[in-house]
Symmetry: D2
Subunit: 336 residues, 4 copies
């Protein structure tokens, strides 16, 4: 059994890790660390956890006590996450970091995007970007994985094959993305009160959202990225507009080249809906050509808490430890 720990376990991605790991046959969760909730039973914050974890409590944040665990998921605010993750790495623990701290190749881009100084620049150089369908081989050998952002995963999986195969224009790309409210994390904030957020819809972070630079770096292009807040709990749908004169067959061939043998990614001309993947670790991609305007419109969907965060982190863990990549990960979305 792999011994795993979570640091920053009280947030929504922490809960989702605990929920998914509860049914992982090869992992034992040895510690759920939360400084602010140390000593509090995990079921007090998240009552469903009682059925799997009984009276287990969040533990205090002493990294040294995590010595001996095989892997640690770090889910802290940026900069803090790299610092704790770095200490764990120094102790020989494999680190899967859910913050932005180990996602960027360019330290400058990270630092200008997040307005912080990276606490462990030398480790950043070793870290691997944890998008398994594109970078599986590197992940296998990594000791630190930078788990991608949710919007980023959804956007990159849709665009990467078409850009690599030269089927679409590199200029003028527009990503109009819509996310459920869990994307904002566990927060007592009036803007997310049901009275303010349900039966509502809005754009936010227009021209300034931090996932823009992460997407741009991984794809090597400049683009418009506009996130919106959907009145749903989970899920991201990105509608992507790009210049294209290729055929359906070309597009499908490009996707097949990258994803044909992937169990969690499916691309076809059928435009997917949010509830096709919600509750699963899957990404579904659809496309529709518009020959009149020489464009293709892509639609890409994921569950932001699973493929966009905790599920992908577990997928990375499975790769790191040579396990079947799908262990513990839901394959069929809940739909209802």
């Amino acid at each position: 059994m792999i011994q795993a720990a979570i640091v920053g376990a009280n947030g929504y991605t922490g809960f989702e890790l605990m929920r998914l790991l509860a049914s992982h046959p090869q992992v034992k969760l040895t510690a759920a660390v939360s400084r602010s909730n140390a000593g509090v039973p995990v079921a007090d914050l998240y009552p469903p956890l009682r059925f799997a974890y009984g009276d287990m409590a969040f533990s205090a944040a002493d990294v040294s006590q995590l010595k001996g665990v095989d892997v640690c998921f770090t889910a802290l605010p940026h900069a803090a996450s790299a610092e704790i993750g770095g200490q764990l790495h120094d102790m020989g623990v494999k680190v899967i970091d859910l913050s932005a701290d180990f996602r960027y190749d360019s330290l400058e881009l990270y630092q200008s995007t997040y307005k912080v100084t990276h606490p462990r620049p030398e480790l950043n150089a070793q870290a691997v970007y944890g998008l398994p369908e594109l970078f599986r081989d590197k992940i296998r050998a990594a000791s630190i994985v930078g788990n991608p952002g949710c919007y980023t995963t959804c956007s990159i999986l849709a665009l990467y094959p078409l850009l690599k195969e030269g089927l679409i224009g590199r200029d003028g790309i527009i990503i109009d993305a819509k996310s459920g409210v869990t994307g904002a994390g566990r927060k007592a904030d009036l803007a997310y009160n049901l009275c303010e957020a349900s039966e509502n819809f809005k754009a936010y972070g227009v021209t300034t959202h931090r996932h823009t630079t992460e997407i741009e770096e991984k794809l090597g292009v400049s683009l418009s990225f506009t996130p919106h807040l959907l009145p749903v709990k989970r899920g991201i749908l990105a509608t992507v507009y790009v210049e294209c004169t290729a055929s359906d067959a070309d597009i499908q061939a490009a996707y097949d080249k990258y994803y044909k043998n992937e169990r969690f990614v499916f691309a076809s001309p059928m435009l997917p809906e949010l509830h096709h993947v919600r509750g699963s670790n899957c990404c579904a991609i659809g496309y529709k050509l518009d020959p009149r305007l020489k464009r293709v419109i892509l639609v890409s969907v994921i569950d932001n808490l699973i493929k966009g965060a905790s599920g992908q982190a577990i997928q990375n863990m499975n790769i790191l430890f040579g396990l079947d990549e799908g262990l513990g990960l839901p394959l069929v979305g809940e739909y209802l």
Copy 2:
């Protein structure tokens, strides 16, 4: 034109008063007082208000500056509301209070329920309970109106005629009530975050909710009252269980006696749904006899922000000033 002011205007009932008063042909809102938001444009908190109030800002809480207004709606926390309301009364301003401070006949019951000392007991003795369909004549002559609670309005309108006419048992009454999230007011509270409240449902305040004593006092009975939180914005539906061996005709006759000429209350054997009244000042009541178990089941619905708060307050104002009772009040619920 009647000059009106609101004290405690920044909350949801304050917003709803401003929204409804914007289309009232006989009222001018001269001040929207909010200590915590003094100087802030009302449209900053509630952008829809811009279309009616332009750049109007919340004003600071100096009661003396309200001298000369005809009526003031007070919507402050209990005890604070009676204190400010009392000062306004002393200045000759008619007061419609949306807190619990002027709702009780019994000071003891109020004080034991709300755990405060009433700041103006002598005014409480003069105040009138503002449920127009039952106490219209007293309201007409009042200078202070205690606007009823939301759960209370919904429950009393359903039970009062049947109890008065002796058609139902006085023991064993159970009110199982369900309210939308606006009932909790404008709050940055994790429990009301869309992620926690949508696709969820729960009972709360079981055996302890403060509206219990208000209902019991007005009806003169003891009963179980259990509120639940619905994943909707607005509206209350109460399902009421009472012993009954009367006939449909008896029940209908009792309701007709009290409500036949009421424009805002409708009772029939058809069980109403929340969206039959949401967005209106109406209360719809339905009933279904269960001869097998010698019971009748009542279903009563209102919009908690309108008939359960701000709309009823305006209805009371219309009565106080001899206006048509329906002025400025939505008669047809939005349904969609």
Copy 3:
């Protein structure tokens, strides 16, 4: 009092007309025609209507019996609507048509878009496009008004001033629009079942939605229009991407030129949210420049059933009859 009738009154826009007209001080609804529901009380389909219309029933579809009404709102499927509307026009009744039949200047474009032959081409030439903020003078003199589509209203109000003033590029415009489910009308269709549509989100009609040609004709440009289905009841938000190197001041000046004195349209740099206008006849427009990519991103919101259909129809009626343009129309959105 203006005598008004509605033909096709059983749909959601018919209900919304009845709901709004109930509080219009200068209009009496003399007939709510519905062939499929003739004889059925309007309150059987829409219980909230009981409070204003009592036992009034839908009437059968005999146009000749509408002789003498001043105005008729026609809300039938396309082609059928123009035929009935044409007969009413021949009888001297002013017609406000909520279908697509009288919206297009070009008969060819209408016919190729809707795959029908226009039954009254000569009347189409007389009809006026009922977008009051842009075509008020023509509406005043019209006898037939083609009430604009919902997506169309939202899109045109945002783009028209900027195109007219030459501030934005005419190529490469992208409208990514999101609508509530009422936009699909009153339908027993599995796709709109709450189980399938809530906690879901999807694009539909990609590259083929019929409002595309209506928008393109009125603006004189070619563009991408992609509608999506939001899990809300009401409201449209359109996010619009256009090439632009103008300044904030230029943009604001262009909007001010067209809308400064409009009570129902407001444009500012603040990006509006759906609940800023839901429940009102208002359109709110916001803009954000992206100098890095030489673009501007516009966000425009309306209530699809009010400004996007029935409210705008009443606004047109007010203009046709020389009434105050805002009579009977909600100015302050419900927000909650």
Copy 4:
């Protein structure tokens, strides 16, 4: 590997069976039978199934072709289900029936409740009521299991221990239950259109709902059962009112006696919320004494599609085949 089939696989419980069985390590689904959708890929109706079942199609309804499967889940309308289930039983297939056909001890009560003649009364006498926490030993030896109703499971698990231990009154029990819309099944029905069902709430089937007799038979009492339709997809919460003068300790002891070692049932004084169990096979029960009124108020929650239908059916299958009872069943609710 156990060979399993589903008859009536196109409904929501059929989908949920397919979704859950996809991650069951000991079961292979050999046929998903749907007469109305024979030949249609399962992923056409339910796109998430593609990730587990690829291009598998629904098969036609020839029972004889199911010879050799170990177990069949029948999810057809009542009477039809018993007929097909009976044929399968005759072929030696173990049957887990999700209709009401094998739930009742009393044929008369079944027939008067469902207004049909039972097609296989002799088999009904052999069938076992599939509520594992109460009847596990009988299930182990059964060849036909009548899988309990959703409301029924939720209600019986809360009341059974307290009635058996004599802690509560047998008269005057009231169950006020609230269910998500999936409880109505997969239907193109206007009443379940998001426009009609979201931001709405209603009682239905008042005094007449068919689950009443099922609950009454299993508990041996007469009671009021009132279902309501919640604007959520999944989950049932039942609020139960019963006469009681016992103590908290008595209540807890009674629940412990029955559930202490049950992994899927948890009872405590904490009142559970819908999202504590949604997405899991668990039932959570809470209680609050009201000494003033000599009552106890119970709150019981389940996921209607899992513990209330398909999950419980799989739990029964695990018991029938001597597997670990929790195999393939989600233990931790999704909460978010």
